[in-house]
Amino acid sequence: MADDRFQAPDYYNLDELLTEEHKLIRDTVRAWIKKDVSPIIEEYAQKAEFPKQIIPGLAEVGGFGPYIPEEYGGPGLDQIAYGLIMQELERCDSGVRSTSSVQSSLVMYPIWKYGNEEQKMRFLPKLATGEFMGCFGLTEPDHGSNPGGMVTNFKDMGDHYLLNGAKMWITNAPIADVAVVWAKSEEGRIHGLLVERGMEGFTTPETHDKWSLRASITGELVFDNVKVPKENLLPNKSGLGAPLGCLDSARYGIAWGAIGAAMDCYDSALRYSKEREQFGVPIASFQLTQKKLAEMLTEITKAQLLTWRLGVLRNEGKATSAQISMAKRNNVDMALKIAREARQIHGAMGITSEYSIMRHMANLESVITYEGTHDIHLLITGMDITGISAFKNDGTQFS
């Protein structure tokens, strides 16, 4: 990839809504990305390999559990700081942000919120430094948008639980030391279990041949009569609301992350259009190019405002799941459209690894599907405003 010349757009001076520390954190992550990740990301995406060597750096800039309190090894930052970190990581690559999102919102968050003191002390500090990597098992081969239908289950065997089932599309699975796994008890209640690498019957085969998130590692979690110690059950919350609480946190981070990807596409397109000449003039002088660029910046600015406000609501503990759905859906769709428009501005160059555009576009095809698909989030908004669920369907009308 060419030199990382990224300059963040801030058309409405939204920096004035941030604290000095927010800006310092954001600029620190941006500087680290430019120095350590941008120079290698394209190569790793091309060879479909997760750059493991960035884990310590990712931990140092606060990429693992930024809002986890200091007593558990985190920096105890607020939700805006978390969002800004996600924005900067995804500005580079959605896969890098995914690694961080999963560790933070889907592994550290449930241990922090639903775990007991011993579990928190045992896992959180090591997850914060990247010494431990974690993953989150909710989605199953036959249960994606309908996680409540999961078949992974555990039985109480007296001195341990016996876990059986399989999870699919799990970010970080092949490198995880610990998996937060959601499974049904004999009573059909969903609980979180901490399944550790090395437990007999627990395997994590890698998912190969992805066209998206190629610099992030994805796999399955397979449980074949895994004996899970009873102390590994998360005791403080059960039911579908427990994993959905984690998803709220992760989706919030994705809303910020998508802005990062969009900013990178816009910034690259703006620069390219001023440098690239056709018919003797820069292509930025053509109305159709200006239309694309102006619409991109308008959409980015709207998303920035929406997401900043959502961050304030999160800080106040007032953001609803439906509000988070709206932001995730809007921003990822916005970023994907901008990536496609930016690709057009880059012409044929846009398909090469000289520019980040096509990588962002391919990544965002995953991001628009995972953590709640584009359609499901729309139906969540629909349900929230009408009070009627359109996505629960018992199938009786088709029988």
Binding site: Q7, N13, D15, E20, E21, K23, L24, I25, T28, A31, W32, K35, E60, V61, G62, P66, E70, P75, G76
Partner: protein, 246 residues
């Protein structure tokens, strides 16, 4: 080893430059400010390296108003132990130098480090003035600094070669490229910076010795004109009559 690093605030290098008040003031609207890179990347980081090797303390010193606190916090996040801001608006180099010299005199550091210039007005004056006021050795544009007890061995890049200088503490040094490798703060540093002392002290009375009357931007870039390689006469005509370069 007690080290004072003078840092100044500078506009981010990507800022759009404009002026107000009849072109006599820099327009700060919408401008992001950073720690002057020469102060941060070279002077501060080398000071931290010397402290890590020899013990001691690194204090960052800034002359400016409260809007400078953000860049001071960044220096603390990178690793300085504490900070002092001499509370005064700044414009004139001699005024700033007098403030720094007064603080240095009262606090007796082993050395005062600063960048070779600040990337806003590029005056390169303050270091030399501080040294002169305090009657200390001054080494400018240093690219290497090693300490052995109270003896400093300093390298300067000069036209076509390298000059090696020896001096002893206390001294003033301005740092150039090569002195150290820039450090990115980490989250631990940012958290620690929240509670590190940032002491605000009153400025001493001093007059501005100079006054900026106006700024002007360079003429806007115009497009390239291509002249056929065989048409030397046209080239000379354009250079003479249009560009007025010859």
């Amino acid at each position: 080893m007690k080290i004072i690093v003078c840092i100044s605030k500078a506009p981010d290098t990507t800022s759009k430059i404009a002026f107000t008040d009849g072109n006599s003031k820099f327009d700060e609207n919408g401008v992001q400010f950073i720690v002057n890179p020469y102060d941060e990347w070279y002077a501060l980081v080398r000071a931290l390296e010397l402290k890590e090797a020899n013990g001691g303390s690194v204090t960052v010193l800034n002359v400016g108003d409260a809007s400078n606190d953000a860049i001071i916090r960044k220096a603390l996040a990178i690793g300085a132990d504490d900070a002092v801001r001499i509370d005064a608006p700044t414009q004139d180099a001699l005024f700033v130098a007098k403030q720094i010299a007064n603080y240095v005199k009262e606090n007796n550091p082993d050395m005062v480090l600063l960048g070779k210039e600040t990337i806003d007005y590029n005056g390169s004056q303050v270091g030399g003035m501080v040294a002169a006021i305090l009657d200390m050795p001054y080494v400018s544009l240093a690219s290497k600094l090693d300490m052995n007890g109270t003896t400093a061995t300093i390298e300067r890049e000069i036209e076509g070669g390298v000059e090696v200088i020896e001096t002893s503490t206390p001294f003033v040094l301005s740092a150039a490229k090569g002195m150290a490798e820039a450090r990115i703060p980490n989250m631990r540093g940012i958290m620690a910076a929240r509670t590190k002392p940032l002491n605000v002290v009153a400025a001493i009375a001093a007059d501005n010795a100079t006054e900026i009357k106006s700024f002007s931007l360079p003429p806007a870039k115009t497009g390239c004109k291509y002249v056929d390689a065989d048409n030397v006469e046209q080239l000379i005509d354009l250079l003479h009559n249009e560009a007025k370069a010859i």
